[in-house]
């Protein structure tokens, strides 16, 4: 029998050689805990993220736009389910995760605590929020936990449609009337900074980064990913004539990177600690719908039991 110390050494070496950890493999408790926290937070974000967009299904400006939005929301629900399944392989039940969400023990991305006020917000969410998520998720395709990595590969394939549909909305509006342009710019002004906060606190203040990087749970740091998103997105903004709401932003010729003004981390802290514009709304809606679905789950189980009983009777006769 190997000692705990030897097991940990083997585990670290296994990760170092870029092998993937699978559900039944031995893993340190801390790795399991971190992975459950990250996976459930990611899953909750996908599911809660359906709400700001759902707000616009009945008000989409055309049938085409409505069909696209519905497909996108359905994808987000699917992504949540892939990720819940991946988390369940670590020994936590779906029920427990939902309970943790409802009791605010588990978090979801703070971005979804902002409201989607106009149709342009649907454009900004697809372009900026999904754009930021893609940068993060591409990096996570190489995460060390097998089920998480495979879910990321699938999600990345589907997300690129999300970003393009958002950018298409923004492009259309920037080519439209003065009022439409103003709406697009207003959405940009409200979503730009929260999108940058999606990557989490700066590296020197991130509580989990170091250990997560060592275990290859995270492959790149918050600041590296954030910068990659900024560089991509600023060019896309300029292309359609939309202004990045940061007067002091400048291009650094020697590093070839866009340099932004300091991020207001106080706002971020306020929103993750429950004081964002929609925290209460998002959570209470999820709780309400979950309770409403209880009888459906119970009826489905009762139906399945009856079916089995009927089959058993059929054979004994």
């Amino acid at each position: 029998m190997k000692t705990a110390e030897e097991k940990l050494k083997d585990f670290d070496a296994y990760i170092e050689s870029e092998e993937k950890i699978e559900p039944k493999d031995w893993m340190p408790d801390e790795y399991r805990k971190t992975m459950i926290r990250q996976l459930s937070q990611h899953a909750h974000s996908e599911v809660i993220g359906m709400q700001p967009e759902g707000n616009w299904v009945l008000r989409a400006p055309s049938l085409r736009a409505k069909k696209i939005l519905l497909a996108k929301i359905q994808d987000e629900g699917g992504h949540g389910l892939y990720l819940y399944s991946a988390a369940e392989t670590l020994g936590i039940s779906r029920d427990e995760m939902i309970e943790q969400l409802h009791s605010v023990k588990a978090k979801y991305s703070s971005i979804f605590n902002y409201p989607a006020l106009t149709w342009a917000d649907i454009g900004a969410i697809g372009w900026l929020v999904d754009g930021a998520a893609i940068v993060n998720q591409i990096s996570l395709q190489r995460t060390s936990y097998g089920p998480y990595s495979r879910a990321m590969v699938r999600i990345c394939k589907e997300e690129s449609f999300h970003q393009r549909q958002g950018y298409e909305i923004m492009t259309t509006m920037m080519n439209g009337t003065a009022e439409q342009k103003e709406m697009a710019q207003d959405a940009m002004n409200r979503w730009w900074w929260p999108s940058l906060m999606m990557f989490g606190p700066p590296d020197n203040e991130s509580a989990h980064t170091k250990q997560s990087m060592q275990w290859k749970i995270k492959r790149e740091s918050n600041d590296v990913l954030r910068q990659r998103f900024i560089d991509k997105t600023v060019d896309q903004a300029h292309f359609i004539g939309i202004t990045v709401p940061d007067k002091n932003m400048k291009f650094n010729e020697s590093t070839q990177h866009w340099e932004i003004s300091p991020i207001d981390w106080e706002e971020f802290k306020q929103v993750i600690s429950g004081n964002g514009p929609c925290n209460h709304k998002r959570l209470s809606h999820h709780i309400k719908v979950h309770k409403q679905g209880k009888w459906v789950r119970e009826a489905a189980l009762a139906f399945s039991k009856n079916q089995q009983k009927n089959k058993a009777t059929l054979f004994t006769n």
Binding site: A71, Q74, G78, I92, D95, R154, R297
Partner: protein, 97 residues
Amino acid sequence: MSTTDNQLPLWEVFIQSKSGTPHKHAGSIHASDKNMALENARDIYTRRGEGRNIWVVLSDQIAASKTEDEAEFFDPADDKVYRHPSFYKVPDGVKNM
């Protein structure tokens, strides 16, 4: 961990993408019976024509070998190089073998 799970039983999903290819594990879903499992698997894993056929099986019905026993479990095949064609010498000039 939890004893009050009311999220319906867990199933594993295997998808065949094209005729003639093997079914491949895609992920898992929750469902109360076989029909719901197939429909949920379709809605979760094949929204973009990824499959032409789906198998679902209750997760607790699957037996799996252990990765930590990998070496000893698979070692019966380790010393049988003669199972590979490259083990054999074929005289120069012999073709189509």
